[in-house]
């Protein structure tokens, strides 16, 4: 990512496979308009991994669902641009998006047990994903391909495993099967929505390694959606931190983890235990709850939870901060505080606690 003069500051790499510009996703409900995503811009090249970080309700999953065009158009208002391999899918017909789904863009979901159909054999589910985009393939070819994929994601005895149901798999094996299903059509973009959240910590690392290996092999772009900064630091090249449906900080993984600029990012980092920090320092949770997306706080959406709100007079409460260059190239932050203030506060309050790495 490079700096630019576009309103959202985060620039779109014109070479990138996925380019999202000023994406807004809104759901009209009886209680009011839910602004689930309110102007987010990012891009991912093939072979690169973008981590999208945020709490529940920050808009990260809604963003990923809109890249797959999975929102019900009757109940969702989407504006902006989502360009996949040069094709803008915003406003595209369902039949056309269908041809992209699972083929150019595939997705791995959080809980593989509920994301796989309980009544169909694992092999059959993978074969189905292959067959829908390869209508000329025979049943046998699709089945062979499914077994092949199971083997490639490290499932022992794939032939036998393909004939089993998801409930006969362990959690880690299920997620591997899910990955096999997502990769069966060699997608150029893989979206992983909290792929390790439902797994044991020991299995998490294996799955992340597997994703990295497969990325090298298939040269796909990956979007890793997570609230876990440990995951981000392990796999991401670039990071997008979201809060209340808006991007609050973007940059390379190095910039976000080592030189974070936004108080929300600080909060995320300080609430995760670190092996490198001072062991006697308590973890600092971010006080309060994520905001209601129907009724966002005025000004900076983070102001009710930010302990530095009000540093610049009334601006935190009246003016929505735009994403602006944060010093280094590619590093952008949406915060009213000046660069110097942020540097000082970070050094005084945050750095000594250490950050998750």
């Amino acid at each position: 990512m490079t700096t630019s003069t576009s309103p959202a500051a985060a620039a779109v790499d014109p070479e990138a496979y996925l380019q999202v510009r000023d994406l807004k996703v809104q759901f009209p409900t009886e209680d009011g308009l839910v602004r689930a995503v309110d102007g987010v811009t990012f891009s991912v090249r093939r072979g690169q991994t973008l981590g999208i970080v945020g709490e529940s309700g920050s808009g990260k999953s809604v963003t990923s669902m809109s890249i797959l065009g999975l929102h019900n158009p009757a109940r969702t208002k989407i504006t902006g641009e989502i360009s996949i391999g040069g094709k803008n899918i915003v406003g595209m017909k369902e039949e056309q998006i269908q041809r992209l789904r699972g083929k150019d863009v595939a997705m791995i979901f959080q809980d593989p047990l509920s994301a796989l159909h309980p009544y169909y054999k694992v092999g059959a589910q993978i074969a189905e994903a292959y067959k829908v985009h390869h209508p000329s393939a025979s049943k046998k070819e699709a089945a062979t391909r499914a077994v092949d994929m199971l083997g490639r994601v490290g499932i022992p005895q794939p032939q036998r495993r393909a004939n089993q149901y998801p409930h006969e798999f362990s959690g880690g094996m299920r997620q591997r099967a899910m990955i096999a299903m997502a990769l069966v059509n060699d997608p150029a973009l893989l979206i992983a929505d909290e792929p390790t959240t439902a797994l044991d910590v020991t299995v998490q690392a294996q799955i992340l390694e597997l994703l990295e290996d497969l990325q090298r092999e298939f040269h796909s772009a990956i979007i890793m959606i997570t609230h876990d900064l440990g995951v981000v630091s392990q796999v991401a090249d670039d990071v997008l931190v979201m809060y209340g449906g808006r991007p609050v900080e973007t940059g390379t993984v190095e910039q976000i983890m080592k030189r974070p600029q936004h108080p929300y990012t600080w909060g995320l980092l300080a609430s995760v235990p670190s092996l490198h920090g001072d062991a006697s320092v308590d973890l600092v949770p971010i006080k309060g709850n994520p905001p209601s997306l129907i009724n966002l706080p005025t000004g900076c959406a983070f102001n009710p939870r930010c302990r530095y709100a009000g540093q610049n007079g009334n601006r935190s409460f009246s003016e929505v901060p735009e994403l602006r260059p944060a010093g280094e190239p590619g590093h952008n932050v949406a915060c009213h505080m000046s660069f110097e203030t942020r540097q000082r506060l970070y050094a005084e309050d945050i750095a000594h606690a250490g950050v998750a790495q």
Binding site: R101, F109, D111, S114, A115, P118, A129
Partner: protein
């Protein structure tokens, strides 16, 4: 699987024995005697005693019950006012009202009930599940509201109301349909269907309401499931997602209820049979109770219980066939 079957069959037989004993006892708790009913109003006590003796009613209850059970398995000889009649196994007793073995009454009336129930079931499963699924897919639209409104309307209609109206319109005023009657399907399938059409529609529509609401709720819930989202994320067409992925999962609990309902209805649909003057098993049972016709009451109660118990076993086994996560044991 075998273990499950043996266990369930044992449980089922125990249930049936218990039901038969309770029915037997209940019957003798009634302050009336079949002998009085049979004998008529001006019967001398001597005559009543004679009838009671011929019916075996003078024997202690356990003896009478054993005799009944023996009849089912090996047959028995029954004394009908002096005439001895052989009643072969499975002997459910002898009806002194209609002067025939109970098994004859049953084999005459059961096909009627089966015809009504099976046809009605086809109606309420297709209409009910069809409407419910469509309503779920078009949730919140006019169609959804109309379908659910109509189903509430049918659910709150009684069989005798809807049946009466249909009879009035299609039989008495327009003559479009013949009076409901039973012709064995083997004899004339068309006439069988024509005679059964109104009961099918009546029982079918009234029951479809429950199935419409149930399948709508099930489908809406299933459409929210992660695996449906996965199916869409694979790029499957909406039609495939709905049928192969959502419907398949949504239908499971409905199969259970349909199976148990079928078991219940096969034991007799008294009101439907009465409204359309069809001599099904339900009507026979109701008449038998009014007549204190113990052998027939016992037989119909046991038969109804048998259907329910059997359907429950079948449903549980079906469940295991539909859902691979279910293990029988």
């Amino acid at each position: 699987m075998l273990r499950f079957l043996i266990k369930r069959l044992l449980l089922a037989s125990t249930t049936l024995v218990a039901i038969s004993i309770v029915t037997f006892l209940l019957f003798f708790a009634v302050p009336s005697s079949p002998a009085w009913v049979m004998c008529g109003r001006n019967c001398s006590p001597e005559r009543i005693a004679q009838v009671e003796k011929s019916l075996g009613l003078d024997q202690p209850l356990p003896v009478q019950y054993t005799e009944f059970v023996k009849g089912i398995f090996v047959g028995r000889t029954i004394d009908d006012a002096g005439t001895l009649r052989e009643c072969d196994a499975p002997c459910l007793g002898y009806s002194f009202r209609s002067k025939e073995p109970v098994t004859d009454t049953i084999s005459r009336s059961l096909p009627v009930t089966v015809s009504i129930v099976v046809g009605a079931m086809v109606v309420f499963l297709t209409v009910g599940i069809g409407l419910g699924m469509l309503a779920a897919l078009k949730k919140g639209t006019v169609f959804d509201r109309a379908a659910i409104g109509a189903s509430v309307g049918f659910a709150s209609t009684q069989t005798y109301t809807l049946g009466g109206v249909l009879l009035l319109v299609f039989v008495y005023s327009t003559g479009l349909l013949p009076n409901p009657h039973y012709t064995p399907i083997t004899q004339d399938p068309l006439d069988w269907a024509a005679g059964m059409l109104l009961p099918w529609i009546t029982l079918g529509l009234i029951n479809s309401a429950l199935y419409a609401r149930l399948s709508r709720a099930q489908m809406i819930e299933t459409l929210q499931e992660d695996f449906v989202r996965t199916a869409r994320a694979k790029g499957l067409p909406a039609r495939v997602v709905t049928r192969r992925h959502a419907l398949r999962a949504a239908i499971t609990p409905i199969v259970t209820i349909a199976g148990v309902d079928l078991g219940g209805y096969l034991g007799g649909v008294v009101i439907t049979e009465s409204v359309f003057s069809l001599n099904g098993i339900g009507r026979e049972a109701a008449d038998a109770v009014a007549d204190l016709n113990l052998p027939l009451v016992m037989a119909t109660v046991l038969l109804a219980a048998f259907f329910i118990v059997t359907m429950n076993i079948i449903v549980d086994m079906l469940y295991a066939v539909i859902d691979p996560r279910v293990r029988l044991g």
